[in-house]
């Protein structure tokens, strides 16, 4: 693991009391996760191709995966790039603001640099299926039974190996030498190779009741950032917290909270997998984002090509608002809303064109 990329920004964490200062590891955690994300997607490419647990309709290798470039392209477009939201002020140490005098051209260049930076910050965290528990026993030595009251945990400290491939073994008091479980592994790797922001025991915010409280305060994004830092992407805790967050967002329709953040893609993928993207489409139409709604429907057709609306659309070669109409007819439960919103949008566009 490369440790040389620590930013010099101060980081304050205050997880003892819930509902206090925002985490501001965004820069650190994003830069770090970029590298880790790349490593993992390269190494786990084979695994993701062979896993298809989300939808039982399709379980072949032909199913589009989260990492497909077409899917990623659609998801990034839907995420949007609101510079004001991405670079909104986060709590840092008090510095007087710096003012620069720029020409128009320099300003444009600065904005372009900012957009590139924002794209890097908005890179989606990896999405993996849940890891299988390790239950490998290396040796059973009955002669050692009762040698000690405590277990011995042996970790390999060699610097140049990946944390996933490290040898971490446990010698139980009854003499069995077994490989350490995933939770033990995470904890020990954090002990010997501490990662910034990660705690040895998970913060209490990830318990069910506390999650509900935080959701009522509209702080889904903070929870997801914390979760990203604390847990491995294929651990059960990570998947559980993400699922709970997305469910809550879907229930209350608060999609706007995640709109210009890196978690938007994950949320859309989850909702598509569960076939509950209606609320999202309605929200998009309310905010006049027709393009996003269309790309969402096309993504739905890519993920579920055997559904009725997908086959209809393929047969009619529809595009744009027609796709939405087909989807509204065939698939969605809130078709009334979608049709109303479509009509309203069409009225608006006709008014604008007639005004011009």
């Amino acid at each position: 693991m490369l440790k040389g990329h620590r930013r010099l920004d101060d980081v304050t964490t205050n997880m003892a009391a819930l509902g206090t200062a925002r985490r501001l590891l965004r820069t650190c955690s994003r830069v770090k996760n970029v590298q880790r994300g790349e490593q993992r997607s390269v190494r786990c490419g084979l695994r993701t191709l062979c896993s298809g647990t989300r939808d039982h309709a399709l379980s072949d290798n032909t199913r589009p995966q989260f990492t497909d470039p077409a899917v990623q392209d659609l998801l990034t477009r839907m995420t949007g790039l609101d510079l004001q939201k991405v670079f909104r002020p986060i709590k840092e140490e008090l510095k007087p603001p710096t003012y620069k005098l720029m020409t128009d051209q320099q300003l444009e260049e600065a904005v372009e640099l900012a957009t590139q930076q924002a794209e890097k910050l908005l890179q989606m965290p990896p999405l993996l299926s849940e890891r299988k528990p390790i239950s490998d026993v290396l040796s059973v030595d009955k002669i050692l039974d009762g040698m000690d009251t405590a277990k011995y945990v042996f970790t390999d400290i060699t610097y140049n190996i990946l944390h996933r491939e490290r040898f971490i073994v446990v010698r139980e008091p009854d003499g069995t030498l077994r490989k350490a479980s995933w939770e033990e592994r995470d904890r020990l790797v954090q002990v010997y190779f501490p990662k910034e922001g990660r705690k040895l025991t998970a913060p209490l915010i990830f318990k069910e009741g506390n999650l509900k409280m935080v959701f009522s305060q509209d702080r889904h994004e903070d929870v997801l950032d914390l979760c990203l830092v604390q847990f491995e992407p294929d651990s059960s805790d990570y998947i559980r917290v993400h699922a709970a967050t997305y469910e809550d967002l879907d229930k209350h329709g608060k999609y706007e909270l995640l709109r210009s953040t890196r978690h938007f893609g994950g949320m859309t993928w989850y909702l598509l997998g569960a076939r509950r993207a209606d609320g999202l489409i309605v929200d998009m139409l309310k905010r006049d984002l027709l393009q996003d709604a269309v790309s969402l429907v096309s993504l739905f057709h890519m993920v579920h090509p055997h559904s009725e609306s997908a086959q209809e659309a393929a047969s009619q070669q529809a595009a744009g608002a027609d796709l939405l109409k087909i989807y509204a007819d065939k698939e969605s439960q809130k078709s009334g809303y979608i049709e109303l919103a479509l009509q309203a949008y069409e009225q608006l566009t006709t008014k604008k064109s007639s005004a011009e």
């Binding site: 002669i143 039974d145 405590a150 390999d156 060699t158 010698r171």
Partner: protein, 133 residues
Amino acid sequence: NVHILPIYENYHGGYVVIRLALAGHKQANRPFYRIVAAYNKRARDGKYLEQLGSYDPLPNIYNEKLVSFNFDRIKYWIGCGAHPTKPVAKLLGLAGFFPLHPMTITEAERRRAQTELIATEDVLQEGQKEAEV
């Protein structure tokens, strides 16, 4: 204390050992060992060549004793002719890197004998109490 100068290490027949060095001398009753490659005649906690790991003899809240080994560098030093001491050899045997040390087995047997002895004593005592009653 024989104060060894660098050029004398080979001259006096000094050799490298892999042993436990006590760290954290500022705290009483809280031992913590570093697994260290050092010259034989050096002080136990003195200057070492390289740290190869750590050993915490007190169990933590999960009832684990944490031991860490840098196997890559241990292999190097053993290849250079370093001798591990008895406790280090025992730990490496428990880890599975070395074959099991005979004293580990002996200690386990002794402990089992001890526990059996205590168990039989308890049974005898209970028998006596019942007999009295």
